[in-house]
């Protein structure tokens, strides 16, 4: 029996109706591992990157055992991040496809910030903000890995001209700043919207959380994809 | 050098031709830079390639290799035609006014008396008319059609700017521009210096190349003056010293000559030396020959050389051929007539022409002894190094004995630089491993030979057994002991003939200079021209006083300059017939009414009156020779002869191949290539980054110029489809080499006699030992022929073909 599978319902997403409160499986173990590798890489990259970006933050290199090792490890972490993020991308890209409702959601962003979700359309697995984080991170990581390789002196110093490297270093820095900001938004949103973090720790959220923030997704899970 | 390195800073015009001073003598070249920067001197470079010297020149002109005489005769012709002659100098100080014997002629490239089968001249007509008084006939008015000047004028008249362009490929405008610059130095206060090196010597007419420039310098009044001269840039730090001490097989130290077979008796030997003056009251310095010779013999054999045995004249070998030059020795070796070869500080396998022949020759030896600080190619000639030395080791039976020797920095002693300065140096390091000084090796060899003769006897052992060997340690004479021996000492007390209570010379004391030498056996001196280097005043070669009164560039208290600390040879010629300096701002010595005095040691008797005694006292005439008499084998005037391998026939004498009197061994003539098979004119040279074949053993030098290459012009590269940085094969009729190629604008094709001539440049620093990349030397390609007078091999002009190849895979 083939089932209609909504685009934002992913394998493993499941409502556990028997519990009280109802719990919803939002992320599989492997997705969570993938996420946390990415997250850790990103944090380490931000710290090591910032240490070389502004002299006042050079002290951060001590976290990595000094400037030499920071210079050595930063690009390798970048490589880890890139592949790890590729994993996330492959998992989540479908669920992050943009929909008409996302525009409405975005248009009512002030309601979002003021916690008036009743004014918003019902949201699938991801709201427009999450999707924007996803897509901007995807784009930024491509930019960062590309520009990063161009200034990875150890292996690529002879491949690009100094002028190209100068452009790359500026692009890399700019993209990194934006990425850090996006990351801040992402983390803040997870903190602000209570009950979110458990999705990435235990893989579960409560039914109420899903009802409140991703009702369309919850409905899809309950109906098993059947149109009600 | 007639002058010194430091004197070059006094010049108005430097002409570098037949050399590449900036490239091959960068340290000495600083004096050119100084002259340019401080005097506004100009620099002319004439070379087939736009060299490193050319890169800092005011004027560069290309020339086809091997055509320098045409260019220089062209300059002489220009100066004569345009009245750019220092007339007072030319008339008084050269043989321009002398009348040449009836019968002497020149036609179609040949002088009177040529014998084609002997490849030699009967030179009897090549001399002056001698008057009834026994002196040379001269015509001060230069009216006599047979005077040297008129013959010279006639001789060079064909070398017009058009002819120069036709032969040399030098554009006419460039030639005339240079001629005008050179001509200006005929002014009494304008001097040009000529700097040359192997670019002139390594030709089948090398001696004449140099002689032609000397003639030009003479008619311009540029010899014997500050900032003038003929300045040979010697290739090794001490090659001048080696030459002074008898490098050539027909010489003994101080340019005395070894007897020939025909000179069986001492009197016979002496009769052709010690030239009688050809002018009244002229000083002919070689009249002292006997003093130099006897003192040399006393230095060699001490008490065994007596008046009774003609100072051991019989101990000297008598030459059966003009000389045993390197080409002849290797030819004999090739014929299997040489058993053993002691090779001291030399790398013949890369240094002599036609490497294939050299390998064959060395393979016929019973033994080869190598004394060298480095592992040379010659020492390894038997070892197969793939294509770089493709020999069949098993078939070579030569026993090779390598004796590691010290290098200059591990040794004390003196080196004689191009400017004839004997400069003492001290050991800077300890020799590695088993390396021993050459003096130790030679002394040990002598001691063992002597012991063998004593024990076993032998045919005429006297020269060995009686050799004077008075060194503190007979097994290792010290540098000081040898230097003192060269300076010479008194063997007996010599009383002053005017006051017998005084001693002229005290027994055992070092001689002040060669002026004290005697022909009665009371003095010993191993090398008369070096006398004064280590006298009772001490080791003058070790002097390090940089004072230079009035900034003349003489530095008379720095080291010792032979002869008698004279810094500029023929310096008497710097003053006119009244004894006043031609250029008062560049005074050297002047006549004060009673004697000569000034900044330098006068090159004349101090009391010789200026209007009586000519300045060139080593010539019996007292004047310099524009007409060489019979002293040059290939003619009293220089003639343009093509190289033996030339892209065109000689435009002035199409039937003559090469130099008509250059010696060519049987078999070598057949190995000369023709332009139809080998269309490109090749030349060999050195690069600044390396010193001969030594520095390829040094990591830094090797990294600065790592790999053998040849250079060609962009036009030839295009024609042949050759890409810069790619591989090519270059071959002559004697061999083939593989090389990287540098395509450059610095080598441009020339138009000679209506034909486009492409040049292939082949530097010579690579071989198969050392730390640089393995490579070849140009001697794999060069012809086996030397200069007609002194047999310097013709390395600078030969023919090759070239093609692009796929390089060896690394």
């Amino acid at each position: 029996m083939s089932k209609y599978q909504p685009y934002d319902v992913m394998p493993g997403d499941k409502v556990n109706a028997s519990g009280d409160p109802v719990t919803v499986d939002r992320y599989t173990g492997s997705a969570r591992i993938n996420h946390w590798i990415t997250a850790a890489s990103l944090v380490l990259l931000a710290l090591s990157g910032l240490s070389l970006f502004h002299p006042s933050l050079f002290f951060l290199t001590y976290l990595f055992g000094g400037g030499d090792f920071t210079r050595f490890i930063h690009p390798w972490i970048g490589v880890v991040l890139f592949f790890s993020f590729c994993g996330l991308f492959l998992r989540f890209w479908r669920a992050n496809l943009w929909e008409g409702a996302d525009n409405t959601w975005l248009a009512r962003i002030s309601d979002v910030l003021r916690d008036k979700e009743e004014n918003l359309p019902e949201v699938g697995k991801y709201n427009a903000g999450q999707k924007m984080v996803f897509w901007s991170m995807s784009a930024l990581i491509v930019v960062l890995i590309t520009s990063g390789i161009m200034i990875w002196d150890r292996y690529f110093s002879n491949v690009f001209t100094v002028e190209q490297q100068r452009i790359a270093v500026l692009v890399h820095a700019t993209a990194a700043v934006v990425a850090i900001c996006v990351w801040i938004v992402h983390v803040y949103a997870a903190i602000w919207v209570r009950g979110t973090i458990s999705a990435m720790t235990r893989g579960q959220v409560t039914g109420g959380w899903a009802w409140r923030h991703h009702r369309k997704w919850l409905r899809e899970l309950v109906t098993g994809g059947r149109k009600s | 050098m007639t002058n010194s390195w430091t004197d070059i800073r006094n010049t108005d015009l430097v002409i570098i031709m037949g050399g590449n001073a900036a490239e091959a003598h960068p340290c000495g070249f600083k004096w050119v830079t100084e002259a340019k920067a401080n005097r506004g001197a100009k620099l002319i470079v004439v070379d087939p390639r736009f060299t490193r010297s050319a890169s800092v020149a005011d004027m560069y002109a290309p020339i086809r290799q091997g055509t320098d005489i045409a260019f220089l005769n062209g300059l002489i012709n220009y100066c004569i035609t345009n009245d750019k002659v220092q007339w007072d100098y030319t008339k008084a100080f050269t043989n321009a006014t002398y009348v040449v014997k009836e019968g002497f002629t020149y036609q179609d490239g040949l002088f009177t008396g040529y014998d084609e089968t002997k490849r030699d001249y009967n030179k009897s007509t090549w001399d002056y008319e001698i008057g009834p008084d026994g002196y040379v006939v001269s015509d001060a008015t230069l009216q006599n059609p047979r005077c040297v000047w008129n013959l010279l004028k006639q001789h060079v008249s064909i070398y017009t700017p058009e002819m120069v362009e036709r032969i040399c490929g030098t554009p006419k405008e460039k030639f005339t521009k240079i001629a005008a610059m050179v001509g200006e130095t005929s002014a009494k206060d304008k001097y040009m210096t000529s700097m040359y090196a192997l670019g002139w010597t390594q030709h089948s007419k090398g001696s004449q190349n140099i002689r032609t420039m000397a003639m030009l310098q003479l008619i311009l009044g540029n010899i014997g003056v500050r900032g003038g001269g003929m300045n040979a840039l010697r290739g090794h730090s001490n090659i001048q010293g080696l030459t002074d001490l008898g490098l050539m097989s027909n010489l003994i130290p101080g340019y005395l000559t070894l007897p020939t077979e025909k000179e069986a008796t001492f009197d016979g030997y002496m009769s052709t030396r010690g030239f009688k003056p050809l002018k009244p009251d002229q000083m002919s310095y070689w009249q002292n020959y006997k003093k130099f010779f006897v003192s040399f013999q006393k230095s060699m054999w001490g008490e065994a050389a007596t008046a009774e045995n003609n100072w051991a004249y019989d101990y000297l070998p008598k030459l059966d051929v003009p000389q045993y030059d390197v080409l002849r020795v290797f030819e004999l070796m090739f014929q299997g007539k040489v058993n053993g070869y002691l090779c001291q500080g030399f790398n013949p396998l890369l240094s002599f022409p036609n490497r294939k022949k050299l390998t064959a020759a060395l393979s016929k030896l019973k033994f080869l002894v190598i004394m060298d600080p480095l592992d040379t190619e010659t020492a390894r000639f038997w070892e197969n190094h793939g294509e770089y030395n493709d020999v069949d080791t098993a078939s070579i039976q030569t026993e090779v004995i390598q004796l590691p020797s010290t290098c200059f920095a591990e040794d004390e002693g003196s080196t004689t630089n191009s400017g004839r300065w004997l400069q003492w140096h001290w050991a800077g390091g300890t020799p590695p491993g088993e390396a021993r000084k050459d003096t130790w090796i030679m002394a040990q060899l002598y001691q063992r030979l002597k012991a063998l003769y004593q024990k076993e006897g032998g045919a005429y052992a006297d020269p060995i057994l009686n050799l004077s060997w008075n060194y503190k340690d007979p097994g290792e004479p010290t540098a000081s002991e040898l230097a003192r021996e060269m300076n010479g000492s008194a063997l007996e007390d010599v009383p002053d003939p005017t006051d017998p209570t005084k001693l002229l010379l005290q027994k055992g004391k070092q001689l002040v200079s060669f002026a004290a030498l005697r022909d009665d056996g009371k003095t010993a001196c191993a090398c008369w021209i070096y006398s004064g280097c280590f006298n009772e005043a001490g080791n003058n070669m070790a002097r390090r006083d940089t004072s230079d009164p009035d900034n003349t560039g003489a530095y008379s208290k720095w080291a010792f300059s032979w002869p008698v600390n004279r810094r500029i040879l023929y310096n008497r010629a710097s003053a006119d017939l009244t004894g006043k300096a031609w250029d008062p701002s560049r005074k050297l010595i002047e006549w004060d009414g009673a004697k000569w005095a000034g900044y330098d040691v006068p090159d004349i008797a101090p009391t010789a009156k200026p209007d009586v005694v000519g300045p060139f006292i080593m010539n019996a005439e007292g004047t310099a020779r524009l007409f060489a008499r019979g002293l040059m084998r290939d003619g009293p005037f220089p003639v343009h002869y093509e190289p033996f391998e030339s892209p065109i026939a000689n435009p002035i004498a199409p039937k003559i191949r090469g130099n008509p009197v250059a010696r060519v061994f049987k078999g070598d003539m057949e190995q000369f290539g023709d332009a139809k098979d080998f269309p490109y004119a090749a030349t060999s040279y050195r690069l600044t980054e390396h010193f001969h074949f030594w520095t390829k053993h040094v990591e830094i030098n090797a990294s600065l110029q790592p790999e053998f290459f040849v250079e060609i012009g962009e036009e030839l590269a295009k024609e042949k489809g050759i890409k810069s940085g790619g591989w090519v094969r270059v071959w002559s009729n004697r061999g083939s080499v593989k090389a990287k190629v540098v395509v450059t604008k610095r080598i441009a094709p020339l138009n000679c006699d209506g034909k486009t001539v492409h040049i292939v440049g082949i530097p010579l620093h690579w071989g198969f030992t050392g730390v640089a990349k393995k490579g070849f030397g140009p001697n794999s390609l060069t012809p086996y022929v030397g200069d007609a007078n002194i047999e310097t091999p013709e390395y600078k002009a030969f023919l090759v073909d070239i093609e692009p190849i796929v390089g060896p895979t690394a």
């Binding site: 409502v15 910030l113 100068r166 | 960068p26 810069s724």
Partner: protein, 315 residues
């Protein structure tokens, strides 16, 4: 006669270094107190018109710094090694140039290496405190124990000079022989130069000497002879006399008007502060929002609704 600006021979006794951190005027990614004394500004003058391209400077540089470069290959040019390397701090660059005015070939030979800019781009770009310092005499020096090998100096340099070692991952370039200068000697290359094309002294003396050289060159027909002491980087402590000062680019690409790239200026100037500000603002916005709006909590009715929905499905 002594040569002008002849450098002294090495002392036979120990000499104390007269160059220390007290003479720093700039220190990368950090600040230094103003020095108590101001050393005389020094300079190395490279007179291209006197240079014969002998590479003695390269050999002397390798010897003094105790470096070796590989025995490489010939690639159809005279440059060896083929570029500056972490071991070869100076390089003769050869250009064959046909002068369009005279139609004569000129072989332009320029000694390449660090220019020791008054306003050093490498120092500006360097993120590591104290890895690059500038002395009050003008020498810009790399302090290798502080270098992290990031290659930012390469991007900062308008002359493309520093090279990063593949062995120890540190940046290297000409030190102007700061260790020799510190004991009253001149740079090794200047000492070795046979034609005195490289001279060393105070900047003022060198400028004066250059004037004389330019006069000489003009008298020889080089109407555009001049110095190359680019103002875009505040002048340099290694500068050239060129026969064709109007066309520096013909000397193996000597930049016409070098200055620190605007990209680098942006990166190390505005971007550095703007980036930090943007990050800070974003974080502050979050904080502020949280303070104002408080946490977004799931309400009990949400759980109820969820339960209903789930049960509804189950029944």
């Amino acid at each position: 006669m002594r040569f002008e600006f002849e450098l002294p021979n090495p002392p036979t006794q120990d000499v104390k270094s007269d160059l220390s951190e007290r003479d720093w005027v700039r220190r990368s990614a950090s600040t230094v107190p103003p020095p108590e004394r101001k050393l005389t500004s020094i300079a190395k003058l490279i007179d291209v018109s006197k240079c014969i391209g002998c590479k003695a400077c390269q050999a002397a540089c390798l010897e003094w710094n105790d470096k070796r470069t590989e025995v490489g290959v010939n690639v159809g040019v005279y440059e060896n090694p083929h570029d500056l390397t972490p071991d070869m701090f100076t390089l003769m660059r050869y250009t064959e140039w046909v002068n369009p005015e005279t139609n004569n070939l000129e072989w332009l030979i320029r000694k390449d290496g660090c220019m020791h800019c008054e306003d050093p781009g490498c120092l500006k770009a360097c993120p590591s405190p104290g890895a690059i310092v500038q002395y009050s005499n003008g020498i810009v020096d790399f302090v290798h124990e502080n270098c992290i090998g990031c290659g930012y100096c390469v991007k900062g340099c308008p002359f493309n000079i520093p090279r990063i070692s593949k062995v120890d991952h540190k940046a290297y370039k000409c030190t102007l022989c700061s260790d020799r200068v510190a004991v009253g000697q001149g740079p090794a290359c200047a000492k070795a130069c046979p034609t005195h094309a490289i001279v060393f002294g105070t900047k003022e003396e060198m400028l004066q000497h250059a004037e004389g050289r330019i006069k000489d060159l003009k008298s020889r027909g080089y109407a555009n002879a001049g110095i190359y002491d680019p103002p875009g980087v505040g002048g340099t402590h290694v500068f050239y006399v060129l026969h064709h000062a109007d066309k520096p680019e013909i000397y193996a690409g000597l930049p016409n008007n070098p200055r620190i790239s605007p990209l680098v200026n942006l990166w190390k100037g505005g971007a550095k502060y703007a980036g930090m500000a943007i990050i800070g603002l974003t974080a502050a916005f979050g904080l502020l929002h949280h303070v104002i709006s408080g946490p977004n909590r799931v309400k009990p009715e949400d759980e109820e609704n969820a339960k209903k929905l789930a049960k509804g499905r189950a029944s």
